[in-house]
Symmetry: C2
Subunit: 188 residues, 2 copies
């Protein structure tokens, strides 16, 4: 796929076909994502693949329940803006996606957020070239239950930077609305 | 350009031809970068374009001098690993690039690092499709001199996330060495 087409086709997808993704395809996409630039070529990114809808849903419930607890403990938090949707029983933070990839890495890497975001960008583009839709779901990282943490194999010294859902899109929406680029200054 | 080719051609470039980049091309690349995904579609990214080699060099000197001060004030910092190169008089943190784009945004946006990294990834890929080379130079963000801050038009409530140099590459090196993807767990 041409890059110019890819820019338009890469949309955040929240509505997926009832169709599984072959594990080999997910591996290919992860391999592409590892070509992303990163600080000092440390490549701190690590991946957890959850390629089963009911297991993705279990993780969605865990995150949602922790978000609701956070909201109750701190009613003035930014989560307040999302209270209605969070309290909606049918709201699944992972939108019933058939697959989830957590991009994670060691907490002590200072550039971890940026490095994993670069890999995430590559991952989302690489998925698009293979006909898949993705969405980075920040709400999906609140995993606290020790049994669940063990189940997904997240080491204690790692943290989740990017929870990305994947699946075959029901449809690809129109290109995103974007603001005009805001250029503060041009020196020439 | 096909995405698979782009993955190989997008390399960190530190050796540039003595050739200017048309401003219109930089604008196109910035426009593409604004199609990056970002938290809640807030698009917090702002851009500063420095398209003149001697002005880029001035900013390189400012950053380098602040890095050296940081090193002197804190000899145990991680900068210690870079002391030899930082003390090398001919070392220009921006590698004599003809152009620099700062990606910046409001400090109070919690997702700023990640949002700007996603835009940076798009910017670097978009530049590659147009025959340009780029490098994210983390060392280039230490701008403190108030006159220089004013000159580049950085608002007091903004911070620089990604200093990215651009130019026509002298050569495109071989594809990068990458570790095998490190997949911690597969649940299926």
């Amino acid at each position: 796929m041409e890059f110019s087409e890819l820019l338009i086709k890469r949309r955040s997808i929240r509505n997926f076909q009832d169709r599984e993704i072959p594990l080999s395809l997910i591996r290919e996409i992860i391999r592409d994502s590892c070509l992303a630039p990163n600080a000092a070529n440390r490549q701190p990114w690590r991946f957890i693949i959850v390629n089963k809808r009911d297991r993705v849903e279990k993780l969605a419930r865990e995150s949602k329940s922790n978000l609701l607890k956070d909201l109750e403990n701190n009613p003035t938090s930014l989560l307040k803006n999302y209270e209605t949707i969070l309290r909606n029983e049918s709201y699944n933070v992972f939108y019933n996606a058939p697959c989830l990839v957590y991009i994670t890495g060691p907490k002590d890497v200072r550039s971890l957020d940026v490095d994993c975001a670069l890999a995430a960008s590559y991952l989302m583009l690489a998925a698009t070239t293979r006909g898949l839709g993705t969405c980075w779901v920040a709400f999906g990282s609140r995993i606290k239950n020790p049994d669940i943490l063990k189940e997904i194999g997240l080491p204690a010294d790692h943290r989740i930077v990017a929870p990305i859902i994947l699946g075959y899109p029901e449809e690809i929406p129109e290109p995103p609305k974007r603001n005009e680029p805001q250029i503060l200054k041009i020196i020439q």
